[in-house]
């Protein structure tokens, strides 16, 4: 019976090619526009580390006080050197790392090659296991290396290729900012977007792949300055990078891994106790005002998703809605035009259910055709997003299997939804009236 309805639908659609084309085009364009903007939205709002984001937490400590808080009462989003290193020393989470952005120069060993500039982070050893960072060769460094301020480095596969060719370079030496470091690990294409571990210094999205990771305390001891944002509520008393470390300026990102609710509440208590201690010691003249958000909440609070993408997704969804309303109208016109045919079928004994099936089949076919067109147009749309949007965002928008399936599903189910009312009207056609009037 279904095959028969398919054939009927095909014949009916062929009878009015103009109207059919209008419907297919409307659905195709509507779906493509919403899917293209959705792909951009999905790219920027995706969870960068979905299997672990609920266990990763970003502590914030209010070392500035009520005078320098924004109207929302939030503490600074980064940490001062004093707070970050104290938290590292206390080591209360399962794993944790303070980190700051660096932008050192690297001198290739080959003669005649000019020095190059790389970006990266100074981190603690637990950074790598905490964030499940993938390694191509070797591994991260040890806690002992942290403590000894060892001259070790983890480099990206890109830098590895540039400096050593595509070989295992573990144990070899790389010259960073005029000093030699021993390579202990090479990363396996790791470029999470948004750059969740350090939103304050990267703004969330970054085109550059991170090329070097050095031990935090080593970087501090050799005076490798920070390259990210520095926010101060007062001018530091001393000058230079050392002055920055002694100041209340915030420039260090921090992340901690806490496995369960008990660990989270224990850590929260620890933070509050720390702030209270600082209050007692006279450093803070205010009650504790800390935050401890898990990664998704923190990214939301930092508004990592560009606001424009949300608005354009909204506009695109509205477009889909208008396309649906449009399809309802056109299907209504199409179905009611065939009142005579319906009358005959009903008079010959077809139940309402049969009419429903017949016309929903037809609507579904329009939806499928619109979906296929929408798929093609989404492909075009996603490909051309790169022409207009910054590379850091457009590179993330991809046409993958899930987007294909969603596009088709949205098209067919939206059209079926749009077909419900016209089908209902068609099934209400009075056979006697139709037969009489003809």
């Amino acid at each position: 019976m279904f095959a028969y309805y398919l054939e009927l639908a095909l014949r009916s659609l062929r009878r009015s090619p103009g109207l059919t084309a209008l419907m297919v085009l409307a659905i195709g364009f509507g779906v493509a526009a919403s899917m293209t903007t959705y792909s951009v939205f999905r790219a920027v709002s995706g969870d960068p580390i979905p299997w672990k984001s609920a266990q990763l937490f970003v502590p914030q400590i209010d070392n500035w006080g009520p005078k320098d808080r924004d109207t929302d009462g939030e503490p600074p989003s980064a940490m001062s050197y004093l707070d970050a290193t104290t938290l590292m020393r206390d080591h209360r989470a399962k794993r944790q790392s303070a980190m700051y952005q660096i932008s050192p120069s690297v001198v290739p060993t080959q003669a005649g090659k000019h020095p190059l500039n790389v970006t990266g982070h100074a981190v603690y050893s637990e950074f790598f296991p905490m964030l499940d960072v993938p390694f191509l060769y070797g591994n991260g460094w040890s806690a002992q290396d942290d403590a000894q301020r060892a001259a070790v480095a983890v480099i990206s596969s890109k830098l590895n290729e540039k400096l050593f060719g595509n070989v295992d370079s573990v144990g070899r030496t790389v010259n960073i900012e005029g000093r030699d470091y021993r390579v202990v690990g090479v990363l396996d294409h790791w470029n999470p977007q948004p750059r969740f571990y350090d939103v304050t210094n990267t703004g969330g999205f970054s085109e550059n792949v991170e090329d070097v990771f050095l031990p935090f305390e080593r970087a501090i001891s050799v005076g490798l300055p920070n390259n990210g944002n520095t926010n101060c509520n007062a001018t530091p008393k001393e000058s230079g990078f050392v002055g920055l470390q002694h100041s209340e300026c915030v420039w260090i990102a921090y992340m901690a891994e806490l496995d369960d609710a008990a660990a989270v509440s224990a850590y929260r208590q620890y933070l509050d106790a720390y702030a209270k201690n600082q209050q007692k010691a006279g450093r803070f003249g205010w009650a504790p005002n800390n935050r401890l958000r898990n990664l998704p909440d923190y990214l939301e609070q930092q508004q990592v998703v560009p606001r424009d993408t949300k608005v354009s997704l909204l506009v695109a969804l509205c477009l889909l809605l208008v396309c649906l309303v449009n399809t309802v109208g056109l299907l209504l016109a199409k179905f009611l035009r065939r009142s005579g045919e319906i009358g005959v079928r009903r008079a010959l004994g077809a139940p309402r259910k049969a009419i429903y099936l017949q016309f929903l089949t037809e609507a579904g076919m329009v939806g499928a055709a619109g979906g296929v067109l929408g798929l093609l147009l989404t492909g075009v749309g996603v490909a051309s997003v790169g022409l207009v949007l910054p590379k850091s965002i457009s590179d993330l928008a991809r046409l993958d299997l899930s987007l294909l399936v969603i596009t088709l599903l949205v098209a067919v189910s939206a059209t079926l939804l749009a077909g419900l009312y016209p089908t209902f009207r068609a099934s209400r056609v009075q056979p006697a009236w139709q037969l009489k009037s003809n």
Binding site: L22, F29, L116, N117, G178, L319, V322, V325, L332, R337
Partner: protein, 417 residues
């Protein structure tokens, strides 16, 4: 022609009428707001930086193995290296002037703080304190950037000092932009004292420039031109140089920069991003804004097309359905133009209802956007233009089927269907 028969006929097509009106209402609401957003983006992109942007480029470079600022004598060594570079660049053929500078308008790398008319004041309340961006440069900065002095004097070579990049000492003198000067001193800023970042040291304003935008492109108009110029070279392991070339010689000079600087000192990082024309800096800063505007523009265009197509489709259906009635009217003496007008007025009625609802929706959507995103109230002009555009689109879309209707011959009335 009276409206009565049209209304009576519409009552028989409630569903179709409601659908078209709804579609027009939704389209109006969305397109109005989207075009408003696009307009704001375009306005932002077209904001003047205050610079003479042609024949201007920026060099960003980093030394390798340079002494740190914390090392004794480090700052002086770094400054000597910077002066060497400046001399080399100033000697290049076709170079008009060169200035060291910590950042540029639209470069998105900024040093910001508070500027006040009273000492020790950092609270952004009232008119005596406001946010500002600091540019550190030397006596060549105004001619190099093409920024116009409107009051007081420019820096001279004797004013210029040098200091470590992280050495936040207050300067003796500063030049403000007109936007900033007018905010702090409505009756003339030259010779007055300002206080930076809550400090207590008076800084004398020696000059006012017409306009100079801050490095971040996204700021609102209230902060976009709040710049303060300070006569100092900042010394760090990296330095930026703004270079103005003779007209038409930009590309040649840009190509000559890398060899010239490597010749001074090969131990430095200079890569593809190191030498960028101001045009490139501007393009990069506004790429996201323009991209979003284009994306939304395309969506709006599709939306309008879909709505027009919907009107064509549904009106065609009505024309087909009323074939016989049209024939009867024609047989009874109605002219072709009467039939045409009938459908046009019918569409005007439906579209009119649609736009009334649409205006309410548009204002509602604008309110919602205002409460959730940083949006301003939509000007009446946008809504009014949208209303007229929707009515015009309705009329254009109805014309083809209506003409077909007017061509129905009267003889149809006598034919059995």
């Amino acid at each position: 022609m009276t409206l009565h028969p049209i209304l009576a006929a519409l009552r028989k097509h409630k569903a179709g009428v409601v659908l078209i009106a709804m579609q027009i209402a939704l389209t109006l609401a969305i397109v109005c707001n989207a075009v408003f957003i696009i307009g704001q983006r375009i306005e932002r992109v077209n904001r003047p930086t205050g610079l003479d942007e042609s024949n201007l480029f920026l060099v960003t470079q980093q030394w390798v193995g340079a002494p740190g600022e914390d090392v004794p004598g480090g700052v002086d060594k770094l400054d000597a290296m910077q002066l060497e570079d400046l001399a080399a660049l100033r000697q290049l053929p076709d170079v008009v002037s060169v200035a060291p500078i910590n950042s540029m308008p639209l470069l998105d790398s900024s040093w910001n703080g508070a500027i006040a008319t009273k000492p020790g004041d950092t609270q952004f309340r009232g008119k005596s304190v406001t946010r500002t961006t600091y540019y550190f440069s030397d006596e060549q900065v105004l001619p190099t950037l093409g920024v116009r002095l409107v009051a007081g004097r420019a820096f001279n070579a004797g004013d210029v000092v040098h200091q470590g990049f992280r050495d936040q000492r207050d300067p003796d003198i500063a030049i403000l932009t007109k936007a900033l000067a007018d905010k702090l001193f409505p009756d003339g800023a030259v010779g007055k004292a300002v206080y930076l970042n809550g400090g207590n040291k008076p800084v004398t304003v020696i000059g006012v420039v017409e306009r100079m935008q801050v490095p971040y492109a996204g700021g609102g108009d209230e902060v976009a031109w709040n710049s303060t110029l300070i006569p100092a070279r900042l010394n760090a392991n990296f330095a930026r140089y703004a270079v103005r070339t003779k007209p038409g010689r930009l590309d040649d000079v840009m190509r000559a920069v890398m060899p010239a600087l490597y010749k001074v000192n090969p131990m430095r990082v200079l890569d593809d991003d190191s030498v960028r024309s101001f045009g490139e800096i501007r393009d990069k800063a506004y790429r996201a804004d323009l991209g979003m505007a284009i994306l939304m523009g395309v969506v709006c265009l599709i939306l309008l097309c879909v709505t027009a197509a919907g009107i064509v489709g549904l009106t065609s259906f009505w024309v087909g359905q009323r074939h016989r009635q049209i024939g009867v009217r024609r047989a009874l003496g109605a002219r072709k133009i009467d039939i045409l007008h009938y459908f046009q007025i019918e569409n005007l009625l439906i579209a009119g209802t649609g736009v009334v609802i649409g205006v309410l929706l548009a204002v509602g959507l604008n309110q919602w956007l205002m409460s959730h995103y940083e949006m301003t109230r939509i000007p009446v002009l946008y809504v009014l233009t949208g209303v007229l555009a929707m009515l015009a689109i309705g009329q254009a879309a109805v014309f083809v089927p209506a003409r077909r209707a007017s061509n129905v011959p009267p003889v149809v009335a006598t034919r059995a269907v």
